[in-house]
Each structure stands twice: as structure tokens, then as C-alpha cells.
Amino acid sequence: MIPLSHYLILSATLFAIGAAGVFLRKNLITILLSVEIMLNAVNLTFVAFGRYAGDLDGQIITFFVMTVAAAEAAVGLALVIALFRHRESLNPDAFTSLKW
């Protein structure tokens, strides 16, 4: 049997990988993918705790997180398309019009 702590460590590792991706990558699409990795890491925590507590709510919140992730991906990708049309670039450094 796997201890709960192993699931938590795996989830923390995945979250850290996602966070590193957001900070280190220079491509809007890869940044959105890293956000998806982070959301999935949190989902794993919810399901593991739900199984540990014998409670269904962990799975239900995961269901809601997936729905929000789908909405986020749709809006985020629409923003990426709009930005790409504007500057012909996916590099976040190209969008500095609001920088003081």
C-alpha cells in the first residue's frame, strides 16, 4: 500500500515543475501548458486526500477544477491568438505596451 505522503510528494513535484515552466519559458503556449500541469498536481492531491478520508468531495472538486481548466484553456488560447495577430510573436517580452 502506498502511503499518503508519497502522493503528496509527487503532487508537490509536479506543481514545482509547472511553476518552473511558468517562470522559465518564453512561449505563451508553453506557459499555458505549465499552468495545466499545476492544476493537475492539485487535482491529484484532492483525489488522494479524498480516498484517504473515504469522502467523495475530493473527486467532486476535481470535476469542477477540470471544468474551470477547460474554460481557462479556451479563453487563454483565444487571448494567445489575439496577441499573436497583433505582434506576430508568442514571446511575452513582445507585449510591453503597458510597461511604464
Partner: protein
């Protein structure tokens, strides 16, 4: 014993694929590798007695969201990242900073793992406290979703409607009426 083997197999697959996702220059490969990572996570959900979440993970994440990402990557025909310029100028890519940062990050992970292992309660096997039947029933999940969480469920439908309208408005070409 086979449970332990599959856990570490799926965990290694998920971590390895996620690392490669952020290590790729080509977003196309990143998207495909992320699908592999989601597949491994879905295997872990099955091990956690959550069949509904496992199937939803494959259908919604790997099936719908990642296909949307693939469409956008192909549609934009996006150039690969300008690696050389970025490697030269980024403050985190200086050799000293990178070495220290990696060392500190590794230390943080080890400490976090030790702290989690030190909490006695968390060392209990994840399935020992409760009967699998309390969590793996899709019928029970539907019942809870439509009784205790009805409001959140209905609010989600409005969220999806707003996201749909927002995506259409944002992606429209300027000047189109």
C-alpha cells in the same frame, strides 16, 4: 506489491513527461508529452479508486483541452523559441545563479519530503482508513453532485457560457461585425 510498482511507474512517467514538457523548444512536442503525463495521472486515479475522475481526465483533458492546444499550435504555425538570445540575456540562465537555484530547489524538495514523511498520520497507507466502495461509486458521486453541490454545478454552466462567448469575442478579427 504490484500496486507499489505501478505507482512508481506512473509517478516516474508523469514527472518525466512534465519535465520534458517544459524542456522542449517546440510547443508541438510539449503538447504531445503533456498528453502522456495526463495518461499517467489517470492511471494513478484508477489506483486511488476514482474511476470517474480517471475517465474524465482522459476524455476532457487529453481529449478536449489538449486537442484545442494542438489546434492553436498548428493554426498559429508558431515559430520555435528564439533560444540563443533568450539564453544569453535571461538572469536565471547565468551559470552561478542557475547552479545555486538548482541546489536550493533540490534542498527545498528534500526538506519538504522529509517534513511530509515526518507527519505520522500521512504515513498511513492511503486506502487503509476507508472501504473502496465509499469512493468508487459513480452513482454516489452523481447523487452528491446534484444534492450538496447543486449550486456550484449550476454556476459552472454559467461559467462555461461566459467562457464560450469570451473566447469567440476575443478570437474574432478586429473590424469583423
Amino acid at each position: 506489491m504490484p500496486e507499489t510498482v505501478t505507482f512508481y511507474l506512473f509517478a516516474a512517467l508523469a514527472v518525466g513527461a512534465s519535465l520534458l514538457v517544459i524542456g522542449q523548444r517546440n510547443p508541438m512536442y510539449s503538447v504531445l508529452l503533456l498528453i502522456a503525463s495526463f495518461g499517467a495521472l489517470s492511471g494513478l486515479y484508477i489506483q486511488l479508486e476514482a474511476p470517474f475522475v480517471a475517465v474524465a481526465q482522459i476524455i476532457i483533458y487529453a481529449g478536449a483541452i489538449m486537442v484545442l492546444f494542438l489546434f492553436v499550435v498548428m493554426l498559429l504555425n508558431a515559430p520555435k523559441e528564439d533560444a540563443a538570445e533568450w539564453d544569453r540575456t535571461h538572469p536565471l540562465r547565468q551559470p552561478g545563479v542557475a547552479r545555486w537555484g538548482t541546489l536550493l530547489a533540490a534542498l527545498l524538495i528534500v526538506q519538504l519530503a522529509m517534513a511530509l514523511m515526518a507527519v505520522g498520520e500521512y504515513n498511513n497507507p492511503v486506502g487503509a482508513q476507508s472501504d473502496p466502495a465509499t469512493v468508487n461509486s459513480v452513482a454516489d458521486m452523481g447523487r452528491t453532485l446534484f444534492t450538496r453541490h447543486t449550486f456550484a454545478f449550476e454556476a459552472t454552466s454559467i461559467l462555461i457560457l461566459v467562457a464560450m462567448v469570451g473566447a469567440v469575442v476575443l478570437a474574432r478579427r478586429e473590424g469583423d461585425q
